[in-house]
Symmetry: C2
Subunit: 196 residues, 2 copies
Amino acid sequence: MPRKPAYDKNTLIDRARDLFWKQGWAGTSLKDLERTLGLNPGSFYAAFGSKDKLFELALDRYAQGGTKRLRDLAAEHGALGALQRYPGLVIDGSSTPAKACMLAKTVLELKNQNDQLAARANAHLSNMENLFADLFREAQAAGEVSDRYDADALARRYQSDLLGLRVSAERVGVDAKAIADEIAARLAELAHHEAS
Amino acid sequence: MPRKPAYDKNTLIDRARDLFWKQGWAGTSLKDLERTLGLNPGSFYAAFGSKDKLFELALDRYAQGGTKRLRDLAAEHGALGALQRYPGLVIDGSSTPAKACMLAKTVLELKNQNDQLAARANAHLSNMENLFADLFREAQAAGEVSDRYDADALARRYQSDLLGLRVSAERVGVDAKAIADEIAARLAELAHHEAS
DNA sequence: TACTTTCTTGAACGATCGCTCAAGTATATA
DNA sequence: TATATACTTGAGCGATCGTTCAAGAAAGTA
């Protein structure tokens, strides 16, 4: 009996993610969303409930994409290979709406005015960091990284380096590729057993 | 003949900087500013012209504070000593309205909707990076850092590391002090002449 | 073809946005 | 003390914010 929606919800979430990623929370108005999604207010609220809810979906979708990309990389190039390639990948090409991390942008923008969403973004970042740690452990098991390092500490530092890289990549006049290369090169040195 | 303002403009700019720093551009309404500065709309616009203009002043004030803090550090501890202490300093204490860099926050938030302000923030970041490079060169002249490194490259990487550190410090559940220590420790290694 | 169920449309809501301006108040000079 | 020159006040402007909802259109069942 019913009538089917004229849109594909998954596609709309992708588009919303890209818009939010580029413009941020406050920088994206309902009018922007209606235009980009091709939805009138009524349909928008029937489909997503509120701007907050959609942003939450977009955040989850974003995080899911990041972990998938890294896992794929690990499947193809191994743990260390993936960790080395990832920095270059996230700042590469003009395919993404922004170079900076959407999760980091969200934490910075909303920490002091929307705890809900900021906390969710932060949780996704922690999740990602856990994945980094797993890969470092895997690299250690494979003998690619010395056991003398703490994988969690390496992951923490790697996450911080990535966030810095991606903020730098958002700036104009900064050679982000050079920074990405340095991060990757540093990882290669972790195999050595020299005294620190 | 005239009547003197009831406020000290410099103090107001400091307060505005702290508010903008913490809450960002869109997150700070005129009502917020009026409350924090103790100014009614009329006085506000008489004194500052617009929200944009005040934000610009706040941005400049912020950048000026950063360079001063670093220069003071260099005067007391030397170039390398200053570079090593700075990371710990910027994320330390609860004295600042936020841990993240206001310039970075501004670039991320406004790049796609207020070129004017984003570009100004970016320029301040470049300025800071030049100061880093000068200090690295100074450290090289003092023999604290090997000449085999390019000071500009070191500064670029240092800036990126700092930005990452300060985003990390804004998160909950992250041991930012540990990251700051690692950044400082890495600088100490730059004196060695080992093969890279 | 009639009916039911859902989706779509878009006008309009109250709240807030950044901002203006006329009227009132305080202070320094004369 | 009178006057000129600011500065201060706060009501209220038009625009936009996120959101609601009643009315109309489309599609599956009977």
